[in-house]
Symmetry: C2
Subunit: 132 residues, 2 copies
DNA sequence: TCGGACCCTCACATTGATGTGAAGGTCAAG
DNA sequence: CTTGACCTTCACATCAATGTGAGGGTCCGA
C-alpha cells in the first residue's frame, strides 16, 4: 500500500509517516516512480510507534527497542552488544516506572470518579460492578 | 522551604519549578521578600508531576487531574461539572491505554532480554575488552 | 489530453518542555 | 560594608513532534 492508505488505516498524518522514516523507525520500499510502498505489517508497526510516542518515549529510544519486538526474531542474539543490553534493561525499568506512575494516578482518578458518582464520602473502598 | 531546597529534594531544575507554577500545577506562597515558600507536601507533588509528564501527559491535563488526587479530598463533589467528569473519564481511559501499551512492550523487551541472556555465553559480565 | 488525486522533497512555523544567561534584589557571615 | 549564595523576572535558545504549504512529478479516468 502507499502512504495515503497507511495514513488512513493508522490515523497518522502522512507528514508523520515520513518523519518516522526519517528517524529510522520504519523503512519503506520504493516503487519505480519513487512512491513509498508499505506492506501489511507496517500498520501494526505504526500503531505501536504511536502508542510508545504517546507514552512518552522519544523516537531515539523507540528506534532502539523496536528491533527486539518483532514476533519472529529478526535480530540475532550475537548482535546484542553489552551497551544495547544495558540500554534495554534501563528502558525496561523506566517503562515499569511509568506503568506504576500511570496506574497509581489512573486508579486515583477512577476512585475519585466512583466517589463522585456515588455521591458518597470517599473513605470507603470502591468496588466495580458495572461493565460498560 | 525555598525553591533551591525543593529543587534538590525533587531533582528538578528551579527553572521547571517556576514553569510548573506558571502552568498552574503548583502554587507557592510568597515570603515578604518575594521568595517562593513551599511546604513538605510539594515534594511529593512535584515528583508526581514529573512522573506524569514523563509518562506523556501534558501540563494542561495534569493540571486538570491533580486536584482529584489529593489524599484528603479538597474538591467537593458538587464542584465536579459534567465536562470535568467526562474529561476525567477520558483521561482515565487514555492512561489505561498507555499502561497497556507500555506493559506490552516492556514485557516484549524483558522477554527478548531473557532470550538473549539464555542464548549467550556467560562472558557477558560487564567488563571492557575494547581492543579497538 | 487534461484534471484531479495521488505522490515526492524541501523548508519554514509552531508548540511544549526545557536550557541558559542577564540584570538585579535579599540576606547572613566575615 | 562587602561578598557570596540565595532569590526574583525576563527573554531568548533548543529540541522533538507536528503543522503547513509551496513547487513539482505520476497516473488514471473522462
Amino acid at each position: 500500500m502507499r502512504i495515503g492508505e497507511l495514513s488512513e488505516r493508522t490515523g497518522t498524518p502522512r507528514r508523520l509517516l515520513r518523519y518516522y522514516e526519517e528517524q529510522g523507525l520504519i523503512m519503506a520500499e520504493r516503487a519505480p516512480n519513487g512512491y513509498r510502498e508499505y506492506d501489511e505489517r507496517f500498520v501494526d508497526r505504526v500503531v505501536q510507534i504511536r502508542g510508545l510516542l504517546d507514552a512518552g518515549l522519544p523516537t531515539r529510544i523507540i528506534k532502539q527497542i523496536l528491533p527486539c519486538l518483532d514476533k519472529p526474531r529478526t535480530i540475532y542474539f550475537p548482535d546484542a552488544t553489552p551497551e544495547m543490553i544495558a540500554t534495554l534493561e534501563h528502558q525496561r525499568d523506566r517503562m515499569s516506572e511509568r506503568v506504576e506512575c500511570l496506574t497509581r494516578n489512573r486508579d486515583a482518578i477512577a476512585e475519585y470518579l466512583d466517589a463522585v458518582r456515588d455521591g458518597n464520602p470517599p473513605d470507603r473502598v470502591p468496588q466495580e460492578s458495572t461493565a460498560s
